[in-house]
């Protein structure tokens, strides 16, 4: 089956941060390989979940995609056009918008809600009056009564209401892709469910494509069509969410999934799937980055980086197990 033309194509995205300290006299400065060459496509109309632990580079990926930090290497193609070349960054940003995690820090405390939402369209040349009308109608769409909320300042709203304003602000551009960077993580569970419902409704109404970044595996399973698992700046597995959750192929994905609390007092987790903390992305291990914590690791894993291999429709995993001829004793096994 030929997959449909991607709306967003990320190719070899890379960002290394140099640390300012400890770089004496030619000794190499330590480098954080925050995002180290990730490639994936986003299909129009889907929700692609991105999961991983802190330091895996999922938030950096979001900021790279929206070009808030500039990439060191790689290309971002929107509907086949390269951002920064065929497509100007300003134009690109009309189509790709982002909702931030911290609902308070992401709203200007000195602006009323209406002006916060109207700001973006006005930057793109919409007359003020029209932009304000748009703001009122978007407030209604995200479930906030304009008569009550348009004139409020962010600190007068609750966390859930602020996140609704954030969503309205992003929608004001009429974007096609919305990046949600831990957008519901800071909310209380009962409020989170409201916002998830809202996101589902808006997606249908505005024909949106979501990039849903979260550390909460339950939420990602609920909302996503496909999921990408990141570990230390790399994509280790990507595939349809049900398939990945039911048959994870990468040992890290498996560990992550079995670290989820069981929600059943009679089937409590007895053994932690991994020991220790995730390693620091400064000078990550060579070869497969997970080999230092992987119970199946062999010599080859410490030297050769695994190449993503396919199984099933669009289910890729980067692991020597499952890669025929990789040199791993269990190479080619279907796990």
């Amino acid at each position: 089956m030929r997959s449909p033309e991607p709306i967003l194509s990320i190719q070899g995205l890379k960002k290394h941060f140099k640390l300012p300290t400890k770089g004496f006299f030619g000794r190499e400065k330590p480098v954080v390989r925050a995002v180290d060459g990730i490639t994936f496509d986003v299909i129009p109309g889907e929700t692609l979940g991105i999961v991983g632990e802190s330091g895996c580079g999922k938030s950096t990926t979001a900021r790279l995609i929206i070009d808030l930090i500039h990439r060191d290497a790689g290309a971002i193609l929107f509907e086949g056009k390269a951002m920064g070349e065929a497509l100007s960054p300003k134009e690109y940003r009309r189509h790709v918008q982002m909702v931030f995690q911290d609902s308070f820090a992401s709203l200007n405390p000195r602006m009323i809600v209406r002006d916060i939402i109207a700001f973006g369209p006005m930057v793109h040349g919409m007359p003020q009056k029209e932009a304000e009308e748009l703001a009122y109608s978007l407030l209604t769409k995200v479930g906030l009564d304009p008569a009550r909320f348009a004139g409020r300042y962010p600190h007068e709203l609750s966390g859930g209401q602020r996140q609704r304003v954030n969503i309205a602000r992003a929608l004001a551009f009429r974007p096609k892709v919305l990046i949600l960077d831990e957008a519901v993580s800071a909310l209380d569970k009962s409020v989170e469910a409201q916002v998830l419902n809202l996101l589902t409704d808006l997606k249908a109404e505005f024909n949106l494509t979501y990039l849903f970044i979260s550390h909460d595996l339950n939420v990602v399973r609920y909302i996503s069509d496909r999921v990408m698992v990141m570990y230390l700046g790399e994509c280790v597995e990507i595939g349809p969410v049900d398939e990945v959750y039911a048959h994870p192929r990468h040992p890290y994905t498996r560990a992550l999934l079995s670290a989820m609390p069981s929600m059943d007092p009679d089937k409590r987790t007895m053994e932690p799937p991994l020991a220790g903390d995730p390693p620091n992305p400064i000078n990550p291990p060579p070869g497969c980055r997970f080999h230092t914590r992987c119970r199946f690791a062999e010599d080859v894993c410490g030297t050769v980086s695994p190449v993503p291999t396919v199984r099933g429709s669009m289910h890729f995993a980067a692991c020597h197990i499952g890669t025929p001829g990789s040199g791993h004793s269990r190479a080619g096994e279907t796990t």
Binding site: L107, G120, E133, L139
Partner: protein
């Protein structure tokens, strides 16, 4: 779904500055200081109507009269001029020399600091290191050196004081802006595709100007004292203009004859600068909106 929801007569919250004003009014001491300053300002503006005598006319027959002398309620100075009139007129130049250099420095320093803070990187580095050079000198010394190099006079005094106040204001502006720049709402505005200038104007400015302003008001008292100091050293205002610092200088020889009269200009400088500081403290509290 209806295309738009109109018209919307929405409830509007009291604005930020309305809240600041509400908080400021609760600061009793600052309000009192504000009233004192207002009185001094009115005194300066309406000096010709209030002052009983010509501040520059003196008679050698009535030199150094004590406080309470008929016709000289606050005594007379070493040239027989009426102290009350000179003090009233003196408020004009003293306030001027206190407020204007800080005001100009507030604009220039803010622009430099906000630019350095927002642009960051190498530009920030260069600008801030240049600013640091000025910090190597104590502000009094710097003001004296600059005034000394340019020569006495009000304009030169003004310029040297302005130069003295630009670095500290720029530094505060830089640090506040650097903090705000990293916040998500600035990022969100950048992600909207807005130009750097628009982002600074609409998102950054309103959030940094308050703290910078508070800091600047705290410098007014310093400026007044420095200006007085320059005049005292003969570098600022020149006689016979009435100015508190200069009056303090010329009266110092009379300190053993009429100590109370000689101390009066100093008292006025003291009261005014304290009032500015209290006002600044009140503003600081009022601007610190967190909830």
């Amino acid at each position: 779904m209806a295309a738009t929801v109109l018209p919307v007569p929405f409830e509007r919250s009291p604005g930020y500055w309305a809240n600041v004003w509400r908080r400021f009014r609760r600061e009793k001491l600052a309000v009192f200081a504000g009233c004192v300053l207002l009185a001094i300002l009115l005194m300066a503006i309406f000096a010709p109507y209030i002052a009983p005598k010509d501040p520059t006319f003196g008679t050698m027959l009535r030199r150094l009269r004590p406080i309470g002398t008929p016709g000289f309620p606050l005594g007379s100075d070493e040239l027989g001029r009426d102290m009350l009139s000179r003090l009233i007129y003196g408020a004009r130049l003293s306030l001027f020399m206190g407020v204007v250099p800080v005001f100009i420095a507030f604009f220039i320093g803010s622009v430099i600091g906000i630019a350095a803070g927002y642009i960051g990187g190498a530009f920030n580095m260069v600008v801030m290191r240049i600013i640091d050079v000025f910090f190597a000198f104590p502000s009094v010394l710097l003001a004296i050196a600059l005034s000394g190099a340019m020569g006495a006079g009000i304009t030169n005094g003004l310029i040297s004081l302005t130069v003295v106040f630009i670095p500290p204001i720029a530094r505060i502006a830089e640090s506040v802006t650097t903090g705000v720049r990293k916040l998500d709402y600035v990022e969100a505005a950048r992600a909207s595709g807005a130009s750097a200038f628009t982002v600074v104007r609409t998102q950054v400015l309103g959030n940094v100007i308050g703290p910078i302003f508070v800091y600047a008001t705290s410098l007014i008292s310093v400026s007044m004292i420095l200006a007085s100091g320059l005049s005292f050293l003969g570098l600022g205002v020149r006689p016979p203009e009435p100015e508190w610092g200069l009056m303090l200088n010329t009266l110092r020889t009379a300190i053993y004859v009429q100590p109370w009269v000689a101390a009066l200009p100093g008292l006025f400088i003291f009261i005014t600068s304290i009032a500015f500081n209290l006002l600044s403290d009140g503003l600081r509290t009022a601007l610190d909106v967190k909830d």
